[in-house]
């Protein structure tokens, strides 16, 4: 540590540039990770808030809730407990003459079931009548107020906003919670439909009658449109950034080590053990990474403060921990590459040069 700190203090510009690069990479990793988690969360917020474990859909709906329709016949053998809820989903465009249009997902629920019970209101109250709805806070951000009336998909019926809820997004679209009866009206022309899905909080729940099929929630989430492709893209970018940081740290430390080989030979001739020189190189890498990551975290924290709420960014403790640990690991691995050269230093090279 002694040698590492002294050298960094003496060669401020050289090591400052390495820190700058580590800072930029870690900042980019934090931004991409926050965006990935933020976007993924907006895909699944509602599902997580329901604590869903299993979902029953029409087996011909390609695991898509908005495409699924369960009829009276499909649901004829169901036995719903307090852990199951019927749900109807349909995409809608919400209009109000004084507010911007919002593309949303209408979710019809029953008042005596858990999805209705568990709604986390941030303003107003729950919907009690068929023409009342509770909407995601995204509507509030767009200027909607309690009491505003919504026209859904151009229908003649108007729905009054009586409450705002948090964590109510599915597939990045804000949710409008209404009744199952309202949902059926929005899907008019479909006789005998009862719901889009049964949501269960019981991991062992299974119902497979007529056209119904039960899917684990992980499979359902994976099949959300664009969800897997989006996550894999982010994971690929973050993975590449870690590889790039590993290469940068390894290359820089290797070049610096090669430049210091004569110094190492002199120190070895003086009897300074190899382990002291190896420890100096590894600790130097750790110091550079820690300083770079701390600056990256500070910059990320500022960015998260400044960015508008519309940007789906979620800077969580898990991101801080995994990003920091990942960078530290790449720093240590990177520093081990020049270690082989240090161990092979011949102290006799210090003589006659």
């Amino acid at each position: 540590m002694f040698l590492a700190i002294k050298e960094i203090k003496r060669e401020k510009l050289r090591y400052g540039l390495i820190i700058l690069m580590i800072f930029l990479i870690s900042y980019l990793i934090f931004i991409l990770s926050s965006l990935a988690v933020g976007l993924a969360s907006e895909n699944t917020q509602a599902i997580e808030s329901w604590d869903a474990k299993q979902v029953v859909l029409n087996k011909n709906a390609n695991v898509s809730m908005s495409q699924s329709l369960l009829t009276k016949d499909d649901l004829s053998k169901t036995k719903l407990t307090k852990n199951e809820a019927l749900l109807g989903q349909t995409p809608v465009v919400a209009k109000n003459s004084n507010r911007p249009q919002v593309s949303a997902q209408f979710i019809g629920v029953k008042k005596d079931q858990f999805i209705y019970d568990d709604q986390e209101l941030i303003a107003g109250r729950k919907a009690k009548k068929d023409r009342e709805v509770v909407v995601d806070q995204a509507f509030q951000t767009k200027g909607y107020k309690l009491g505003d009336k919504l026209e859904l998909n151009g229908s003649a019926n108007k729905y009054r906003i009586v409450g705002f809820v948090k964590n109510a997004k599915i597939n990045i679209a804000p949710i409008i919670y209404g009744s199952l009866a309202s949902w059926r009206k929005l899907r008019q022309g479909m006789p005998n439909i009862k719901a889009s899905a049964i949501i269960s909080r019981n991991a062992n729940y299974s119902y497979n009658h007529a056209n119904s099929k039960t899917y684990p929630i992980a499979q359902f989430i994976k099949k959300l449109p664009g969800y897997t492709a989006q996550n894999m893209t982010f994971q690929l970018m973050i993975g590449f950034l870690f590889v790039i940081s590993l290469i940068i740290i390894a290359v820089f430390l290797y070049i610096l080590t090669m430049q210091k080989m004569h110094n190492f030979a002199v120190m070895r001739a003086q009897g300074i053990p190899s382990r002291t020189l190896v420890a100096a190189t590894v600790s130097q890498s750790v110091i550079l990474v820690v300083v770079g990551v701390i600056i990256g975290l500070a910059a990320m924290w500022l960015t998260a403060k400044v960015l508008p709420a519309a940007v789906p960014m979620s800077f969580t403790p898990q991101i801080i921990l995994s990003g920091t640990c990942g960078m530290l690991l790449t720093g240590i691995i990177g520093s081990l590459i020049p270690v082989r050269s240090i161990l092979k230093v011949d102290p006799a090279k210090a003589i006659g040069e």
Binding site: F2, K6, E7, R268, Q270, G271
Partner: protein
């Protein structure tokens, strides 16, 4: 008893047609309080002698004794400890660590050798004698050649070794400085009871030597 003694030491590099006999049947000894000069032209084997005497490499055959102990076949770890505790090197280009101040060069030794280093009072006196007491917070690049040379000597002495090995210590000094450095080595040997071995081709140092060895084509002859 000699502090350092080499008996029948040979060093051969390469094999077959590429074989070079760098040292041939070398016998050498140096005692505490004495300055020994090893002279000879480039390629005579002086550097090879220094690396074997300093336990930086092993001889092909023969014995090397430091304080009566044969070090010819000790492990790398033991060799390391020997260099740290018993041998001080003053290298040709001074070779101070560029990112450490003069004071920090000593602190580096403290980090790996916790005991037996010179205490503060002796060190202060030595730095005063060397004329660099006011330069301990300077980096090597901020010192002149002569000052770097003195700092390198102080660093070599800090671990309080019995033997001081110097490789061409006057290579880049003018005559006035050569006399100062020669006198300095003489004083160090006498006042601090060190065996000082100077490898050089500079005849201006002869007057400070107690013994002189001449090297030529890997052979060593005692001249004085």
């Amino acid at each position: 008893m000699a502090v350092i003694e080499l008996k029948n030491v040979q060093k051969v590099y390469g094999t077959g047609a590429a074989e070079v006999q760098a040292l041939k049947q070398i016998d050498f000894k140096a005692n505490e309080g004495k300055v020994v000069l090893i002279m000879g032209p480039s390629g005579a084997g002086k550097s090879t002698f220094l690396t074997i005497a300093g336990s930086l490499q092993k001889p092909t055959s023969g014995q090397v004794y430091i304080n009566g102990e044969d070090i010819a076949n000790i492990s790398a770890k033991q060799s390391n400890a020997l260099r740290l505790n018993q041998i001080g090197f003053v290298l040709q280009a001074y070779n101070l660590i560029p990112f450490l101040t003069v004071k920090e060069q000593f602190e580096l030794v403290d980090h790996v050798k916790k005991q037996g280093n010179l205490d503060q009072a002796i060190m202060d006196k030595l730095l005063e004698q060397l004329g660099i007491a006011g330069l301990i917070n300077k980096y090597p690049s901020e010192l002149s050649g002569g000052q770097q040379q003195r700092a390198a000597i102080a660093r070599a002495l800090y671990a309080n070794p019995k033997i001081l090995l110097a490789d061409e210590p006057t290579a880049s000094l003018d005559s006035k400085n050569v006399d100062e450095v020669g006198q300095l080595f003489k004083n160090l040997a006498q006042n601090y009871q060190k065996a000082v071995i100077l490898v050089t081709h500079d005849p201006r140092l002869e007057k400070y030597a107690d013994h002189i060895y001449e090297m030529m084509d890997g052979e060593m002859i005692k001249k004085q």
